[in-house]
Amino acid sequence: MLLAATNLSKHFGGVAAVRSLEFHLDPGEILAIIGPNGAGKTTVLNLLSGVFPADEGRMVLDGVDITRLPAEDRCHLGLGRAFQVVQPFPEMTVRDNLMVGALFGSRQRSLAEARRRTDEVLALTGLAGRAAMPARDLTLAWEKRVEMARAIATSPRVLLLDEVMAGLLPHEADEMLAVVRSVRETGVAVLFIEHVMRVVRDLADRVIVMDFGEKIAEGSYQDVTGHPRVIEAYLGTEETGGA
């Protein structure tokens, strides 16, 4: 087990965003978290990357308890995170955005080493042609790519991706899929949240389904999509009228 969460819980006021969640991620695995809007998926990534603290539970990365560590320490230990709402540094070029991840990520690099790493990731993610553009001039599709590339530049052991395919055209999503696969081939495990079911089907080794902060199903794509509780969560039941 590379990454494990036990009894993970987070409340916002009276609302339980994540309730007693248990899951693990194996080395080199691609795990998807799916579920209706508001199921608590992004909260899980925020807890893992240290954006805010967990109320209860424990998170362990490769034997190290990261539950109380600040975000930057978790990054140094190998958690790379791409946000759903893209957060590029607007006045930096695409190259400099990646440089930040390369310099300060899981390996502390010198400027020369970080430049080499940045060049590698620019090539891998197809961003080389836009390297000199200020990030604020990019379209959303390219911003999403920068968001993911910057996380990859940190040389993570676990890559956390939050809906990096949302809003992309099919051929753009296909290119992102290829990037994620090639990152996995370098031994990186991937935990991703996605609404585009085709992406989940094509990419995930295993799928976790969440609803109202709880895990309601886990297994292969075929297993979970046929699971009665999953169908109920997505389509509603007769009694509740499908809301």
Partner: protein, 308 residues
Amino acid sequence: MRWAGPAALVVALLVPLVPAGGYQQYVVQVATFVLINAAVALAWDIQARTGQLSLAPAAFFGLGAYAYTMAALRGVPLPVAFLLGPLVAGAVSLGLGVVTLRLHGLYFAIATLAFAEVVKVIFKELPLDLTGGAVGLTAPPLLGGHQTGLYYLGLGVLLLVVAVSLAVRHSRLHYAFTAIRQGELTARVLGVRVVATKLLAFVLSAALTGLAGAYATSRLFFVIPEDTFGIGLSVTALATAIFGGVYTTAGPVLGAIILRSLEEGLRLVLREGYLAVYGVILMLVILYLPGGLVSLWNRRSRDAAGGD
């Protein structure tokens, strides 16, 4: 702009040697004030690159000035007293930074402003034989008060601040500072040690401001709480940097040269009315050149390169 820095340095070195007749002394004096303003503005800018708006330059300038003066008056050798300026300012900023740098935006700005005012009051109210109270102290001059020698010492102080600014710009710190300024949470998730980095910028900037304070005092020969810790000093620092171009090395220096010369020139022509014209020029530049004067140059060189 490769040639601009060396050219400016040559001009700066020649200033005291240009024969200006009866105006000689006046020219060197104005040039010395340009050096001080440029050093304080550039030191402020280094810290501003982390996105924190500090209104405390006056405090660190004053601490440097008082550290030098009080030590020198107690028989500490002048070069040692001079170095106490940046040391005291840096040490105090470390304490202030630890408690305030977790604040953001307006809250940080207000905390630094309050700190500057508190320090001023403390120096005013301490026993007379210690700080001289509201009247202040007479400071022993460095280099026997030799005007040309002091001008070159001031140039040395500014060159040190420029060297630090350039070193920051061409190191890993540049990426950390800019990332923190443009998205603090994202910077943390990418592994940037945000608090430690902001603290480093804050202390570096304060020490350099304290050095400028010690230097200015050795040139002005006195310290007075209302002037030496005056809020005007902080406002001038940030106005100068913004006028010239923030987050650059050339901007604050260029801003100091133009603003200070403009101020002196207008004062000669318009007497008390100069502040109104000065204010309007400042406003026009801030309104129509948000990147400051250096953005004019960047725009031109970009056009020459085919634009983007």
